[in-house]
């Protein structure tokens, strides 16, 4: 009988303590403030409109556009194939699998870059990988892709190549007049590689 009493003497108080204290629900940040500042300074989160347009046209299966504006704004206008995750619902459980994954490239966009950047910061600090921000937001998207300005005749060749690409991309994505597709797309920035995240390992388990 004695060992049982001894056991009870230990586990009952411990049980009472754990029942009395509030549950620790804080999610520890995966990135320190310094690491995050470092990433912000190097602007690694940005994807240029040209890179995104290129991926849309090529129907890159890894691209996932995420509209972080409100639902109203999303319904009025959105980019082809985008899904809507309003920044106010960013931490909702139902979006966790979309934001924390390592198979796709999530690109946040908003009208400017402010809201998209907010979304990126929060998800990045939670340690999620493969989330990016559309540089310049929708405003710049209109200027650059849908209504590109013809460069001055004195501009270097690259500027013309870029213009041709934008013109054709804009046409393909609904806007502007069609011209011959550009042969030279070397100006399109290389897209960043998708990195394996923490999520995959968590699934390990089972007997």
């Amino acid at each position: 009988m004695k060992p049982l009493r001894l056991l009870a003497l230990f586990i009952i108080p411990m049980g009472l303590i754990i029942a009395a204290v509030p549950q620790n629900k804080t999610k520890p940040y995966k990135l320190t403030a310094e690491q995050l500042l470092g990433e912000v300074n190097t602007r690694t989160q940005y994807l240029t409109p040209d890179a995104v347009a290129d991926m849309i046209i090529k129907k890159d299966p890894t691209l996932r556009l995420i509209d972080v504006r409100s639902q109203d704004e999303f319904e009025k206008f959105n980019l082809q194939g985008a899904i809507n995750i309003p920044v106010t619902d960013l931490l909702s459980e139902k979006y966790a699998d979309i934001l924390n994954q390592d198979g796709k490239m999530n690109v946040f966009y908003s009208n400017g870059t402010l809201t998209a950047n907010e979304a990126w910061m929060v998800t990045r600090q939670l340690g999620y990988n493969n989330n990016f921000v559309l540089e310049g937001g929708l405003n710049y998207w209109f200027d650059a892709i849908l209504n590109p300005n013809k460069p001055a005749s004195t501009s270097p060749d690259e500027e013309f190549a870029k213009y041709d690409f934008r013109k054709s991309a804009g046409a393909a994505l609904g806007g502007g007049s069609a011209i011959q597709p550009s042969q030279d797309q070397s100006t399109v920035s290389a897209k960043p590689a998708i990195t394996a995240g923490i999520k995959k390992k968590k699934a390990a388990g089972g007997c």
Binding site: A204, G205, G206
Partner: protein, 177 residues
């Protein structure tokens, strides 16, 4: 009589102390790898290895192997549970060696023959192997580890295992008492 009581006290570890130690091992597994203990998963790894070695094409298309592949990349034998079960064999052997219990024998009630005991063990093994796959884990993987992380499924499986065994105990009493 007095002598047998004394033997009883010294032969095995006190169950509560054993339980606390086992709990610490389970806690260590969760702390190190974020998962509990297990046993039947190692057998599944071995079966998948054998199947894919003998008949690579037909077995890869089977739902069983596919389901395993989804959660385990790479060599099926290089998994956590396989290494853990190798450790169990070593740990059990060490403990048996310290306690002087190393001996080849068939353990059974004097009322039945060794042969009958072995047939029942085989039958029990088949049922347990099958059930552990259906129930996604055995007593250690699903019930014990599941209970430690408060998994609803772990509690349900635990109750089903012990409830059924209690209900059927009467019919198998001759094998044990």
């Amino acid at each position: 009589m007095a002598k047998s009581i004394e033997i009883k006290k010294t032969k095995y570890l006190n169950p509560y102390i054993g339980g606390v130690l086992l709990g610490i091992v389970l806690l260590a597994a969760n702390f190190v790898s974020g998962r509990g203990l297990g046993a039947s998963g190692a057998i599944k790894s071995a079966i998948v290895t054998v199947e894919t070695t003998i008949a690579p094409v037909s077995s890869e298309s089977s739902g069983f192997v596919k389901e395993f592949r989804q959660s385990h990349a790479g060599n099926p034998m290089k998994t956590w549970l396989v290494f853990e079960m190798l450790g169990v064999l070593v740990g059990g052997f060490l403990s048996g060696a310290f306690a002087g219990r190393l001996k080849f024998k068939v353990e059974h009630s004097p009322k039945i023959t060794s042969m009958k005991r072995l047939f029942l063990a085989l039958g029990g093994g088949v049922l347990f192997g099958f059930g552990s796959q259906l129930g996604r884990g055995c007593t250690s993987g699903s019930a014990l580890s599941g209970m430690a992380v408060l998994s609803l499924g772990g509690f349900i499986t635990m109750m089903a295992i012990f409830g059924t065994a209690f209900a059927l105990a009467y019919f198998f009493r001759k094998n044990w008492i």
